[in-house]
Amino acid sequence: MPQKKVKFDVTDIENFAYDMKRCIKCAGCKWVEHTYMPGINFSMRCPSAQKFLFDTYGAYGRVRTALSMLEGKVNYSDKFLDVVYKCQMCGACDVGCKRNLDLEIQLALEAIRVKCVADGKGPLPAHRKVAEKIGKTNNRFGSPHANRAKWLPADVKPAAKADIVYFVGCAASYTHPEIAKSTARILKAAGTPFMLLPDEWCCGNPLYTTGMIDEAKRVAEHNIEAIKKTGASTVLVSCAEGYRMLKVDYPKMFKMSTSDLGFKVVHLVEYVDELVKKGALKLQNKLDMRLTYHDSCNLARLSEPWVYWEGTHEQWGCVNPPLERRRGTYGIYQQPRDILSAIPGLKLVEMIRIKENTLCCGAGGGVRDAFKDFALWTANERLKEVREIGVEAIVSACPYCKDNFAEAIKINGDEIKVYDISELVWQAISK
């Protein structure tokens, strides 16, 4: 093939034309990896393909439809947007594809959404409403910006200057303050001074994942500048979406690498795991509980550091210079498991689809905003697995997973309890 210049820039879908064209429709994006295939049940990891059945709703169908649009054979339509946006952008397809091939499917899907927005066709009205709220109040819920730090409990005093800044995120700030409180108390218990950003804005995940890259860049610029102003070397995040956004999508949008950000991004579970292993944090309280851990997509298979790349596609589709693909190998999988296993009395039972094979909770990629039924359907699919292994609770490391599971459980009248991992850690250390 003739050399073609490409770069990891989602604002131009042509950068991923090769990846879309070379999809072989093996459906590795849909199925649980075959080595781990459990049998006839719980065998898929793509919620969209499982729910909507038509090939159109698998990554293999989406890329074919998008290519057809680029070729002028398919036009924008409600159906087209339905296909593009009924997807949690959970990364299952990307790691499934990269088990065998070197195709950038996740980036292609992101580029399709960015193109929809650039062409004035996307996102969906529900996403625009969220964007408007972020534009007006700097948070996705439209709550007063002034209330962002209202969660802060009286017993915790953030430092005026510290090496760690806690990026709280919209959900923990407004709708799940228990996560923010637990996180702050854990840091305090560990003797870790931390700051809050004086003016934290939404991380921009709802904007970026729905294709509104300009709006996402606006909030990202603000947050990056605010973080840099603090002088902190580390940003600690308790939300999986925020974690991935800061660590992966911020550098991606600005065409740099994670290592160029100028600060380190860590999730609470990474930090706690390190403290526990060093003996600096004692998980001493017994929690008699049999529970399972849900890998949040953004903390698990989508969390590897971003490395910006540009170069050429050459003969046989080789890239030059070579690059290390993000295959989901180095996601944050083990740390939360080690933490939970270290809590006395707590029995961690694994679900069937775990780590890179996890099934999304259903909330991501703007699905919960635009297709709540689908989001809850997906949560219910996951909860079937929870019931299958007979545990009393599910724990995750993302407020949006917690939220979506909690709502599905409430509707079903299930007895299953839902926790964020910060709550359990706090319960295990509190005096």
Binding site: K25, W31, I40, D55, N100, D102, Y333
Partner: protein, 528 residues
């Protein structure tokens, strides 16, 4: 849009509006290619058409009604399960409907009688996982773990594991089959009672025309359920380990083991395979080509090419690796015994056992067909031959010689003679010849690949080889007379009898004939 409104409404009434679509977004999502098995060939580009609609039945009754409606309204239809068989899965005429069978995903296992009843939406790894839970197993065909077990069985499912338990198509028992005109035929014991346990009589046994190497694949209606014989495996669990992309099944060391041997020559490999068969040891045996090793070790496409570029004709010529699977089906002692026998055989032939990972990455549960696209982005197997082992050995060399004339555009492979394996308890050998090229190269490159494909078929005829994919992939009027001599006439008469309206995947079984006749660039090779 030529599917009449009346026909569409009838079809819609069968499955409900949720399970039928003629929206262009859906129709183009089901387009052939541009990537995938054989889809980058001229055949894929020239022959395939966008479907007029996609319909998804849930039951045999719905399939029957769809087929009857298609006959009534003369709407061509194409059965579709997982759609991985490249252009062979797609319509060749305008306004055909794709009958997507993925909603038919029931799987039942009769543990006591050791068989599974599967519908077309069940894939190979699902069945294998369920079988392994019960101490049973089946061959996961080289088409991949992700393929429909029904389609792969009717087609040509085999793998190195076919040495011990044969080709999967031989394991078909009772079958439920919606004929091209909509009549339901139940074969084997199922014809007489609600029992799938037996494939041959007392009921009708028409498996020969619908399955395997020579059946008129994909144009004789729709198989909606079939039973497959499962085989006893060994009782210990094969534990999945690792994280993507380095995953594998951890093998219980005293019951299941792969061993790689370096051998002094290809003849020694063949001899070892024969001796294994005579001694009835081993569960699988295959000659590994060098590029498989490089694919397995490569961390990326670029890494593969860095490794492969260090190879040369001399290295390939001297690369003799035999890979054997041992299974202690009945006991640890059985495996110990088989291992001792195998070691004796290899030692006598001058081979050496190499350190081999105690895991299974491919064949028992996972068959990594998708990895075949890593190297260039385009892949197909031009030939599959089940013959005597000696024949398999020689035929690979013939193809390599021919292939050299077509390289480039084919990937430089230093005259690699393909791979072969032991099959059917040692009574047969199997060779497969894989080709790779750059699908983003100029059209003329692809045209050469198309011509090479036909030349290999002629080579088979010249060398009296026994091709496995005569039905669906050869020009019927090229291979038929050599095969039968009346093979092609029979095939066409069967088709005419069962599909009088020619609505099931037209123009199969003449699709390849049509391609060769109509594509300009094929004229130089059309000499029959």
């Amino acid at each position: 849009m030529a599917i009449s409104r009346e026909a569409y409404r009838v079809l819609e009434s069968i499955v409900g509006p949720e399970y039928i679509s003629e929206d262009p977004v859906d129709r183009y999502a089901y387009r052939c290619g541009p990537g995938g098995y054989e889809t980058d060939t001229g055949f894929g580009r020239f022959m395939t058409k966008i479907a007029g609609a996609i319909i998804m039945p849930k039951t045999t009754e719905e399939v029957q009604k769809i087929v009857k409606a298609c006959n009534r309204y003369k709407v061509p239809y194409v059965p579709w399960s997982t759609g991985f068989f490249g252009p062979r899965s797609f319509p060749y005429v305008e306004d055909a409907i794709i009958v997507d069978l993925k909603r038919m995903d029931k799987l039942e296992i009769d543990d006591k009688h050791m068989y599974a009843i599967v519908e077309p939406g069940v894939i190979a790894s699902q069945l294998q996982a369920e079988a392994l839970k019960r101490g049973l197993y089946i061959v996961v065909g080289g088409g991949g773990s992700q393929v429909s077990i029904v389609a792969n069985t009717l087609g040509d499912g085999w793998s190195p594991l076919s040495y011990k338990i044969g080709m999967i198509e031989r394991r078909m028992l009772g079958m439920e089959w919606v004929l091209p005109d909509g009549e339901i035929l139940r074969t084997g014991s199922l014809a007489l009672q609600d029992d799938y346990f037996w494939g041959e009589g007392p009921g009708p046994d028409l498996r020969g025309i619908c399955r395997g190497h020579n059946g008129v694949r994909g144009c004789l209606g729709i198989t909606t359920r079939l039973a497959l014989k499962l085989h006893p495996f060994q009782p210990e669990k094969l534990e999945p380990t690792g994280i993507t992309p380095e995953t594998g099944l951890a093998l219980p060391p005293k019951r299941v083991k792969w061993i790689n041997f370096t051998m002094p020559s290809k003849e020694a490999i063949v001899k070892a395979m024969y001796e294994m068969s005579k001694a009835e040891v081993g569960a699988a045996a295959t000659k590994v080509p060098l590029f498989w090793r490089d694919i397995a070790k490569a961390q990326s496409k670029e890494d593969f090419w860095a490794r492969w570029s260090k190879a040369n004709e001399e290295i390939v010529k001297r690369f003799f690796v035999l890979r054997v699977l041992l299974v202690g089906y009945t006991s640890e002692e059985q495996m110990e015994y088989e291992e001792r026998v195998l070691m004796d055989i290899v030692k006598e032939l001058g081979g050496d056992a190499r350190p081999t990972k105690p895991t299974d990455e491919s064949w028992i549960k996972n068959a990594d067909s998708a990895g075949m696209w890593l190297m260039t982005g385009a892949y197909m197997s031009v030939i599959y031959v089940w013959e005597a082992l000696d024949h398999a050995k020689v035929q690979g060399e013939n193809y390599a010689k021919l292939k050299a004339k077509y390289t480039p555009p084919l990937m430089p492979d230093y005259r690699d003679p393909g791979w072969f394996q032991l099959g059917e308890g040692g009574h047969q050998g199997y060779t497969e010849f894989l080709v790779y090229w750059d699908p983003d190269g100029p059209d003329e490159d692809t045209h050469k690949v198309d011509r090479y494909y036909i030349e290999t078929m002629k080579d088979d005829i010249k060398n009296r080889s026994y091709p496995s994919l005569c039905g669906p992939q050869h020009p019927l009027y090229l291979s038929g007379p050599a095969y039968g001599p009346n093979y092609h006439i029979w095939m066409l008469k069967i088709k005419e009898e069962l599909d009088p309206n020619k609505v099931c995947h037209p123009p199969v079984p003449l699709a390849q004939d049509k391609f060769v006749e109509q594509a300009d660039w094929m004229k130089p090779v059309k000499d029959w």
